[in-house]
């Protein structure tokens, strides 16, 4: 597999990975939204259902009991009146009949009985003098007949019971409620004590049934109203409960987004208010903790910054004098004692090392403090690399595979720092020749990578808007979108797998036993920070054929990144007239 194929495969994988990642995030976010809404409605739903069930149970049992009691009361009253009348009539009229009455007598009595105040039908049964069973019914033969009387009732009526001290009569009055068609009826029957006709009555309970029906209807409506009322109540309650819950959710989300000053307004004394109070306390504690940590972090950073700063002053003096010593050394036949010459050389070289270290420390503290700013310029990448290699006398050790004409709008000094560190590192660990290749990628998609979140939305690049806005853009600024990819590849043994994740760590040494290196241990970390400042990225990998490759990706135009900086700068310095003149050139 060639280098190029390898690269494109890796890139594809990366892109796929990113797509996949984004997709997953989108999906889970969408799912989260639906899910939370579902959950909220489900809590609402649960409340409504529970309220409805409670209301239903209460209403149904209350109406049931009321209906039942009413029904019994109504029916018993009607029935008692009818039965009382019937009994009275049976005694007064049927009892007055001879033991074996004729059909006519029976019929006449039945009619008379039926004409009482209660308007019931009567059926009298007796044996006539000839021993035949005769029937006398009110309303004629088409009316009430023995078929209408249930057999069980007939049997009960005709059953002769023993006369005891508690039971004075041989025959009793029995009744039963039947339903014929849709109409409820009361059927009752009894025998005349001491012989005589057996009488049955049939009384329609329709009026009572109608009353009870309307009662049932009104109870049903009441139950329905109770259900609706409970649902509304549940809704209201759900809202009063869910609003604070929602507010709490929003507040928690804000807190999660890092707005640590988020607080809830606490009103009332209920559990939700308690929860809000707890939330506020937690947020306060968190804020304090974060502030403490930030303060401690800040203090330690300031210490490093101050320290490296303080180191600078003596170093400046030492450096200036060291050069004098150096010149003495270089001067043939100079006045330096050969005995102390190694000492002088050591002082000179170590001073340079110390200089580099302090320089790098300062650079790191600038990144940590966020004061590192880009000074952008339009540069030819190939020229920059050549200049970087040339300035460090690496021309023989580096193979450059780059065509002129790849322009980018970047900070040349920072690019030089990145290149010097990457190439220097490759030379130190991989040995020459180091291969540096440049290519561009004109991707239409957002290639700012990690920089996009730093830029906070790429505003219009208003470069030179005031200063030279009247002129057409004659410059061949082919920057725009796209990425410049610079690869630094060495011929060494590559980077051990366990070291690979740490190559950009500060002061990381591959092994404790490794001989002291010339570097400060900050070089790659600074290179990475510089790439990040551009919204770019550096990745380290091993090439299958052997050797390590560091890939630097830089967006071709990082002006958008510095817009914010420039604005902040302007605010900070109170917008001097310079800015109007300058039109924000390069800054």
């Amino acid at each position: 597999m060639t280098q190029k194929q390898q690269d494109s495969r890796e890139r594809r994988e990366r892109e796929e990975h990113r797509e996949h990642h984004d997709g997953a995030r989108g999906w889970s976010a969408a799912r989260g939204g639906v899910w939370s809404r579902l959950r909220f409605t489900s809590l609402r739903l649960r409340l409504v259902v529970v309220f409805g069930l409670v209301a239903l149970t209460a209403a149904v049992s209350a109406s049931g009991i009321a209906y039942w009691l009413n029904r019994e009361a109504v029916l018993t009253r009607a029935q008692d009146a009818v039965l009382g009348d019937f009994e009275q009539e049976m005694q007064n009229r049927a009892g007055a009949l001879p033991e074996r009455p004729t059909q006519e007598e029976l019929q006449y009595t039945a009619d008379q009985m039926a004409n009482s105040s209660q308007r019931f039908s009567v059926l009298l049964i007796a044996e006539d003098p000839q021993g035949r069973t005769v029937y006398g019914g009110s309303g004629g033969l088409s009316g009430f007949s023995l078929q209408d009387v249930p057999v069980s009732l007939r049997e009960a009526v005709n059953e002769r019971q023993k006369i005891t001290s508690t039971n004075k009569y041989a025959y009793h009055l029995y009744w039963q409620r039947i339903v014929d068609g849709d109409t409820p009826y009361l059927v009752a029957g009894t025998r005349t004590i001491g012989g005589g006709p057996t009488g049955y009555l049939l009384k329609s309970l329709e009026p009572e049934a109608k009353d009870l029906n309307s009662l049932a209807w009104s109870l049903g409506i009441a139950t329905g109203l109770a259900l609706i009322g409970s649902a509304l109540l549940a809704q209201a309650l759900a809202t009063t409960v869910l609003k604070p819950v929602q507010r709490l959710g929003t507040a928690a989300r804000r807190l999660g987004e890092g707005k640590l000053d988020t607080r809830l307004q606490v009103s009332g004394t209920d559990e939700l208010a308690d929860l809000s109070r707890t939330f506020n306390k937690a947020a306060e504690a968190l804020e304090k903790r974060v502030a403490d940590m930030a303060a401690r972090d800040e203090a330690s950073r300031r210490f490093v910054a101050d320290m490296s700063h303080e180191l600078r002053t003596p170093l400046t003096a030492i450096t200036a004098v060291t050069e004098v010593l150096e010149e003495e050394l270089e001067f043939e036949g100079g006045g330096i004692d050969p005995m102390i010459e190694p000492a002088v050389r050591l002082v000179v070289s170590e001073t340079r090392r110390l200089n580099d270290l302090v320089e790098n420390l300062m650079e790191v503290t600038r990144f940590d403090a966020g004061t590192a700013r880009l000074v952008l310029d339009d540069v030819d990448i190939a020229d920059q690399i050549t200049a970087c290699i040339d300035a460090r006398a690496w021309l023989d050790a580096v193979e450059l595979d780059a065509e002129r004409g790849i322009h980018a709008r970047i900070d040349p000094r920072r690019l030089d720092v990145i290149l010097a560190n990457l190439i220097g590192n490759a030379l130190k660990h991989g040995g020459s020749p180091v291969r540096v290749s440049v290519r561009e990628e004109n991707a239409a998609e957002d290639v700012h990578g990690s920089g996009s979140d730093r830029a906070g939305g790429a505003g219009a690049v208003t470069d030179d808007a005031a200063g030279g806005g009247t002129e057409p853009g004659t410059g061949a600024e082919d920057g725009g979108g796209g990425t410049v990819i610079i690869e630094v590849r060495d011929q060494g043994p590559g980077i051990p797998e366990d070291v690979l994740p740490h190559v950009f760590d500060r002061f990381y040494k591959a092994s404790a036993s490794r001989p002291r290196s010339e570097g400060s241990g900050l070089g790659l970390s600074i290179a990475l920070e510089n790439a990040h400042a551009h919204g770019g990225e550096i990745t380290a990998a091993n090439v299958p054929g052997g050797g390590a490759v560091f890939t630097l990706r830089l967006p071709r135009d990082v002006s958008a990144l510095t817009e914010e900086d420039a604005e902040g700068d302007a605010r900070e310095r109170g917008g001097r007239p310079r800015r109007e003149n300058a039109g924000g050139d390069a800054r």
């Binding site: 002053t313 004098v324 010149e327 310079r578 003149n581 390069a586």
Partner: protein
Amino acid sequence: MGQNETVPSLLLIEDDDAIRTALELSLTRQGHRVATAASGEDGLKLLREQRPDLIVLDVMLPGIDGFEVCRRIRRTDQLPIILLTARNDDIDVVVGLESGADDYVVKPVQGRVLDARIRAVLRRGERESSDSASFGSLVIDRSAMTVTKNGEDLQLTPTELRLLLELSRRPGQALSRQQLLRLVWEHDYLGDSRLVDACVQRLRAKVEDVPSSPTLIRTVRGVGYRLDPPQ
């Protein structure tokens, strides 16, 4: 200035004794005549007495700071100033360039670098045998090294003058900031383009009719600057 046949005289204003001594030693060995002052006030007094060719000025000074010293010098004088800044924090550099400095070096500075910068700044004032050119009301006399606008002499620092000369040598042609850095500041590569921007602004303030809408020194977006002959 420009008496190059004699040894150039420098004024070093630096409050730290060790740095002052060391730089004095180093610069003297490079062949400069060095006078030193430990504070801005002393420096300004020495400046009036000795008339040095160039000032090396520390930014962090007790009393009036380097920027203020720079501003006060610029009110009356156009002699070159190199700032010695302890940090290359951007605010420092930008404020320094705005207050009129010609160049800056960051501590800990190597004597050789400082020497190279000093020599480059001093060379800017050198006369060249050449003609004169006029751009509207602006007349650049290359042999006398003077610039007049509407007949009035303009007070330009050597750096501003050199920048104007380089631009006027190629009228209508855009020069990139890096090119200008090489031509004017003699920075090998990796020059700080803010030097160019700051100097262009100062120059515009002096030569343009309306500095906020320049007609002479135009910005060429994505490239650099260009001197336009008036239409």
